[in-house]
């Protein structure tokens, strides 16, 4: 990140609406860290591991197109949404393992071609690969802030698709947050699932899962839960009142995006980071 790092940016549907503060904070921290984001023109929904259960071939074609659009820009593709990252990566793996030629016959209908020469990465991963630069930019070490780190399933699993680090004993998130100077609390639920993807069909289970995560962060003394995944953030934040009531818990906790935590350490304001847009009050994390 010392030299300007340019990325083809895949925001994913969630960043334009329900998690727009994730996009705001990402765009606020990027220039400070020497990251330039070029949004991929014409990107489509990745299917979010849902469309795949209805029409896998349509989903594969749409994602081959998404990756091909990024490839045309000649830069690695970056996304902050873990589900987008996993879905795009899975599509890339399928294409690279033999589906490429067949799928290219369909992409040809729109004069496009998948080459297979672009990397797909996430904000967490880019920060982890550039810890020294990140450390050098910290102006407000967050040592007074006790944070619980919630990875979110698709930041890590399946390990054999993502191939970035061990999903049993991962380290990237801890290393990044240590670089920001924040105090990391023990957190037994850090590798669990928030349940987002089944929040409609298995609502009751999902609300229990989310409630246990927030409760566990609280009992370990966390001031805030941080996650690199905007869908986890949304699940744990937006519906918190609802599931905590349902599970007879009066614990309320701010849930923030990784990009917001980075922004706080870089000295950016609540407004610049969209912290006033989080549903559970996240505006008083640093005084």
């Amino acid at each position: 990140m010392s030299n300007n790092k340019e990325f083809a940016f895949f925001p994913g549907c969630v960043l334009s609406q329900a998690a727009k503060e994730s996009k705001m904070s990402l765009e606020a921290i990027a220039p400070i860290l020497g990251i330039t984001l070029h949004e991929i023109p014409g990107w489509s929904c990745c299917g979010a591991s849902q469309a795949q259960c209805v029409d896998p071939i349509a989903s594969l074609v749409a994602n081959a197109r998404n990756i091909a659009l990024g490839e045309k820009m000649g830069m690695p593709i970056l996304t902050t949404c873990s589900t987008c990252m996993l879905t795009l990566t899975k599509a890339k793996n399928t294409l690279d393992k033999g589906a490429k030629d067949r799928i290219n016959t369909f992409l040809a209908e729109g004069n496009m071609k998948y080459e297979g020469n672009t990397e797909i990465t996430s904000l967490l991963w880019v920060l982890y690969q550039n810890l020294d630069t990140l450390k050098a930019k910290v102006v407000n070490p967050l040592s007074n802030l006790k944070v619980a780190l919630f990875y979110g399933c698709h930041s890590l699993r399946p390990e054999r698709e993502l191939t970035k680090e061990s999903s049993t004993n991962p380290k990237s998130f801890e290393a990044v947050v240590e670089a920001l100077g924040a105090t990391i609390v023990p957190f037994e639920k850090r590798l669990d699932c928030c349940g987002f993807h089944a929040s409609y069909p298995a609502g009751k289970s999902v609300r229990k899962m989310s409630s246990q995560i927030v409760g566990n962060a609280d009992s370990n003394g966390a001031d805030v839960v941080v996650t690199p995944c905007p869908l986890c953030q949304m699940q744990l934040d937006i519906y918190q009142e609802r599931y905590q009531d349902e599970n007879n818990s009066n614990i309320r906790k701010p849930i923030i995006h990784l990009s917001q935590l980075v922004g706080l350490a870089l000295g950016l304001s609540n407004k610049e980071l969209g912290l006033d847009l989080n549903i559970q009050d996240a505006t008083r994390l640093v005084g």
Binding site: R102, E109, G110, R160, A202, S205, V206
Partner: protein, 324 residues
Amino acid sequence: MKIIIERFDGKKKYESTYELRIDEVKGQTLLSLLQYIKRTQDITLNFTAACRMAICGACAVRVNGHSYLACDTKMEELLEEYENPESMRISPLNNFRVITDLVVDWEPSIENLRKVKPTITPKSEFSEKTGCVQTQADVDAIKKQWDCILCGCCASECNKLEADASDYMQPFVFTHAYRAADDSRSKDPMIHLKPAIANGLWNCVHCQECVDRCPKGISSFGDIESLRVMAMKKGLNEGMGPAHAEAFLLDMVEGDGRLNEIKLALRSEGVLANTTKLDIAYNLMKAGKMNPLHIFGGEKIEGHAELVKMVEAARKAEKEGTIK
């Protein structure tokens, strides 16, 4: 180092701690370490194992909260994974009833397997004379699923089972249902598909723990996805799960190319149920995180017409059988 083992004597839970020198630990498998502890330190320790070669599925336990097949896991690898810890905690599989120490009850899981009828009812055209043949490609389609040894590692870490097992079966049960349903010799996939749907097919939370824990490299999540695709193709699309999944596809292809959050909520659970969430929707709109005008649709993405053409071509090829 310390090996802490969670114990259960049929009435109460307790822990036993065994001090071992590192040279007693290194070079062992997790199973041989358990046997060593039983032989040299504590004859009362109970666990199950039979084949010692990763085929019977009896020896799975948890280490530090993650499931492993004991006979197929080297202690050196565990020490590396957990960075040479001073202690390790061994416990019985999660999401199973514990009988004693590391021994768990498989009977309810076998009952679930019975529900999906994991044997094959052959097509009527087969006879004693002609046999029950399949092509290599047909075998390959379900070869991986045949590798399941019923060890329970996937079920142990399943986040949905942990939250509520009353409307959900173990991940491996879906793997066995899919193996039978996709078998070219099988008379009717519905025999296996219908009970899978009735027992939680759409309740999986996509945590992917089953994929990462399986010692045989099987993806029960992938099998759940395949069963869902099969269900949708056969018109079994009742309920919130199918409606929710379909909403993404509709927005991607028939819609504007991107997800429409307002339509998603309405399509997934219907207008009536959705009125109970109006407070949440109001909060989101107030924060500018949901655009009420999107109910009329949004702006089409650049190149959407081409995207549709590509998808249509793929669907056509699939229908004509040029691709599977």
